[in-house]
Amino acid sequence: MATRIKSSRALPIDRKAALVTEESFFERLGANMNTTTGIYNPLDNRTYDATARNRVMKVIDERSSEVKALIKKHAERDLMKTYEEIPKNGVVLYEILHKDLLGPRSTKVVVVGAGFSPTLDLIRNGSSNRRVAAEELARVKDLVVQNPNVFYYVGAFSTTSWEEGCRNILVGGNFLMALCDLYDEAWRTYFPPDGRWRGAARVFDLTTEEEKIEAVRRFARKHTFEILMDELSEDFVFDQLGYAIPIIREAFEQLAAEDRFLRFDTGTRPYRLVRTYG
């Protein structure tokens, strides 16, 4: 049994990189919404048409105003430039409407995308690796989850990942939240275990299968030390990237086929990628 030591903190992200990743998150979320045809509402146990004619997109700029206020307060010069460079902590709502036979059109499900960044650090220092705290996540949840008759799916994206405590506040009576981040160029999403997710989980799955396989391959190439210590198992990769086991195995197989110094060891579980010298 090998001694496992928790890895150190991620590298700091700068303003521009944070902005690019946040914009990329909203793009990917929008693309997923465009391909979603139906979405399940656990409150009335019905799936609603989520195509463009029954969908309304709204942007909440309350948090963008907070960013502006912080810049005014803490930035010493180039305020406009700083504002342009910095992620806006945007919140986007996709309201799924439905008209009953008798009655007006009403919102049944809301899919939310929310961006999070350590704004103050980015203003003051230009970069940060401070993870987003549970309090901030809870505040934004309270901001968007307001109607008890509507079910909310919230996809929260952080440019600097999440504190451990965030995982404890992801499930509620009329909402489910998923935590997204970009780790080592790989999009990750953490879904709290809950039966109500059904197909809605796909909305927050931000990468294609090919991208995931490529991300696992990249991850394996960057973790030679773990390979040498026989620790690059499918479980380890799952913990780090959150991708499904079959995808990880597929990537492992590809790597072992390409590199003659790697072997996909399926003798013991969990399966792992190990070093071989032939």
Binding site: T3, I5, T224, F225, L228, M229, F261, R275, Y277
Partner: protein, 233 residues
């Protein structure tokens, strides 16, 4: 094939590293290709092992640094265990490099060199018997010629006499002898006078003492001038 290679290389046994390769080859050339291929594979394995060693070393170094700054005892112990595991791996890799790759590559190198030499020699075609006889006769003739030339050269050296002066040269030589006698005679009375104790001998000035040799020689060459000491008196 194995026996053939043994005969070619002039050895009784072949190392176990190369025996399977020779056994699988159809001829020497193929054996050489297989040997080179095996050597390349082992060199590549050794290179990969070296790179892995670097990664392990780096990680060990990082953990040692981390452990230095750590205050918690349990965390320190965990780091120490991790370092221990890494060192085992390093040891294992080092053993692999030393006992397997280096050893095998050395054997491959030796056999590749030997086979290359053997193949080079066998690739040179020998001349036929007639040609060889002709060449031998030619070589013998050349040797005989060389002997003759040598004897001739020795003969010329022995009969050579010193050059004889002609009439004019002989006269000059006589003149030179005469002048030498004259100088000798002049020098004798000066020596006698110098031996007298009451006669004060003036020291030669410093400038004269330090005259360069070539000037002195030039002065000596002038026979008309009287000796210096006489002039002073």
């Amino acid at each position: 094939m194995l026996e053939k290679i043994k005969k070619l290389l002039g050895v009784k046994d072949l190392p176990e590293e190369v025996s399977p390769l020779y056994r699988g080859a159809r001829n020497e050339r193929e054996a050489l290709i297989l040997l080179k291929e095996a050597r390349r594979r082992d060199e590549s394995r050794r290179k990969r092992s070296m790179q892995d060693l670097e990664i392990l070393d780096k990680m060990e170094e990082e953990l040692l640094e981390e452990g230095k700054g750590e205050t918690g005892e349990s965390r320190k112990l965990m780091i120490a265990r991790r370092i221990k595991e890494i060192r085992w791996k390093i040891q294992e890799l080092n053993n692999r490099i030393e006992n397997i790759y280096n050893k095998r590559i050395k054997v491959f190198n030796e056999h590749v060199a030997s086979l290359e030499t053997v193949l080079e020699l066998t690739s040179e075609e020998l001349p036929d018997k007639k040609n060889m006889e002709e060449m031998a006769i030619k070589a013998k003739n050349l040797l005989e010629d060389l002997e003759k030339s040598k004897e001739l050269a020795e003969g010329i050296t022995q009969s050579e006499e010193p050059p004889q002066p002609d009439e004019e040269e002989r006269e000059i030589l006589q003149e030179m002898e005469r002048r030498a006698d004259l100088e000798l005679e002049k020098a004798k009375p000066e020596e006698k006078e110098a031996e007298k104790p009451e006669a004060p001998v003036r020291e030669r000035p410093q400038a004269e003492k330090e005259k360069p040799k070539h000037e002195k020689k030039r002065e000596e060459k002038k026979p008309e001038e009287p000796p210096e000491i006489l002039y002073e008196e």
